[in-house]
Amino acid sequence: MNAIQTLSVAIQKRFGRQRIRKIALGSIPFLVLLTLWRMNTVNEWLPPVYIPPMASVAEAIVILQDECTGLAGIFSMHQGCQFTNHVLSSMGRVGLALIIGVPTGIAFGVLAGMNRRISNTLEPIGVFANAISGIAWVPLAIVWFGIGAMTTLFILLNTIFWLVFFNTLLGVRGVPRALENSVLTLGGNRWNIITQVYIPGALPSIVTGVRMSMGFGWRALIAAEMIGGSSGLGFMIFVSASEYKIEEVFLGVLVIAVIWMITDRSFLVPLEKWTIQRWGLVWRPS
């Protein structure tokens, strides 16, 4: 008993009492859900066609990965590794769209933030493009690019670019004139102002924009893959649903949620916090 007590005290000291309490409490509803799921399988309240047993969801990975040739096969996207191929193609698309969309969004945002005329011209387009939600572009994108990777990439880029653009624009506009003028007084040129004043000053807003665009983009991507894709998690769950392989659908949905939560919680949120802490003061001189 004593050993257990010392151990529990040590754990509490190591991880923090409040955090442990939160984790323990937060896991209760998940455990209840899992228990209900298990009980459903045992008692068959709802047939397995509607809610598959947990084991078959786990088994679905094995079935999908049936002809996979190990790690090398996963990374070379071998045809047999269906599951990892879908995951990788969805994530790769997000990565590609980020690499293209974020820099161009920032560039146009800074440009528009510097010049009233440009911002007055680009802003209405952006408002409209944002209002035509990602999905509504899918039919036109299918006409233009056909069903496949280009269409989904287009939808994703369309979502990411405008959100990053808007947030950069807002951020640049929020930078006080005094900072800009002082750099000019010290002999800085236009380029110095962009790199030393506008971009650092707008950084918190830009990072918020990136996080938002990822949130909207991930949702739009899943939907775009369902309608106009030929690979990816959205495509996977849609095809599985039409074949009534409900366990694959459950697997896909869980993976979609887990990927998003991991990206958001352990990457985007800390990045946003850090940026606001590091650069947020720049535009709040008071």
């Binding site: 309490r21 939160k22 409490l25 937060g26 896991s27 209760i28 509803p29 998940f30 859900l33 066609v49 509607y50 009233r116 005329r117 911002s119 007055n120 011209t121 802003e123 209405p124 387009i125 408002v127 409209f128 493009a129 209002a131 035509i132 939600s133 990602g134 999905i135 509504a136 572009w137 899918v138 039919p139 036109l140 299918i142 006409v143 233009w144 991930w218 949702r219 739009a220 899943i222 939907a223 369902m226 309608i227 959205g234 769950i237 849609f238 599985s240 649903a241 009534y244 409900i246 659908v249 459950f250 896909g252 949905v253 979609i256 949620a257 998003w260 939560m261 958001d264």
Partner: protein, 276 residues
């Protein structure tokens, strides 16, 4: 005699000029040039490319197709159905989500318990669970509604919960020391204090719901704007696709600018102080 007194000099009244100045300063001139520019560019491109009726029909074609669809009564029907789904789904989402969020937020232990799971469900988009629901209920109206409701509900409940949690405990303690009942605290402290978050959550939830309506109609095949652009693409009526997209964009801008944003701004102005 037609002579005018000096006080009624022929100087133009200042009102139109001020309005004109506001128009140009607010980007009105650029907006006009932009619209004309886009339409010119659009017509030029569509006259240059081969097979424009498939890839990019001219603006006039789109306008003709819209008048055609208006004449047949299809367009008002689709718009009406889509908006009706959005409104019903959002209202249900608000009616369930707000009390749910408040109830969960009342107790610290309960809210710590439900915070992660609400976050989890918030991050599964409604579109992702649509295939599951299609397997359950088939391509029915019920399926679309469930997806809309699900999409609206979780952002709303999550934001309300966060809002209730953000109320400084001092306010609640003050009320309690003055002898207020629990109902009184909920009515006078918790609901007003969570108001800004409720408004933000509502706007977010309805925004997601709008996207879910369009996608749901496409995937489930229920008549509406999403269905319209999807089937138009299938039958090679690109003019109808573009018309539908313009309608979707315009309707959302109208809803957002004239209903959701003013409500959110007013709420934050009216109740936002409680949190500071």
């Amino acid at each position: 005699m037609a002579t005018t007194s000096p006080s009624l000099s022929p100087r133009p009244r200042p009102v139109p000029s001020a309005r004109w100045r506001r128009f140009t300063k607010g980007g009105g001139a650029e907006l006009l040039i932009l619209l004309v520019g886009i339409i010119v560019l659009w017509s030029t491109i569509s006259s240059l490319i081969p097979n424009p009726s498939r890839y990019l029909p001219a603006p006039l074609t789109v306008i003709f197709s819209s008048s055609d669809m208006l004449w047949k009564g299809l367009l008002p029907n689709y718009v009406g159905q889509t908006i009706w789904r959005l409104v019903l789904g959002s209202i249900l989402g608000l009616l369930v989500g707000i009390p749910f969020g408040i109830l969960l937020g009342l107790n610290r232990t309960v809210s710590d318990m439900f915070y992660p799971i609400l976050n989890f469900f918030q991050s599964i988009s409604g579109i992702a669970i649509l295939p599951i629901i299609v397997v359950w209920w088939g391509n029915s109206e019920q399926t679309v509604f469930t997806v809309i409701l699900y999409t609206a509900l979780f952002p709303i409940a999550f934001n309300v919960l966060a809002g209730v949690r953000g109320i400084p405990i001092i306010y609640i303690n003050v009320m309690r020391s003055l002898g207020a009942s629990n109902m009184r605290i909920i009515r006078d402290v918790i609901i007003p204090g969570a108001m800004p978050n409720i408004a933000t959550g509502a706007r977010l939830g309805i925004g997601f719901a709008w996207r879910a309506v369009i996608a749901g109609e496409m995937l489930v095949g229920k008549r509406g704007l999403g269905w319209m652009i999807f089937t138009a693409q299938d039958t090679d009526h690109t003019d109808q696709v573009i018309l539908g997209m313009v309608m979707i964009g315009t309707i959302w801008i109208l809803i957002d600018r004239f209903a959701l944003r003013p409500i959110e701004a007013d709420t934050i102005q009216r109740w936002g102080l409680v949190q500071r």
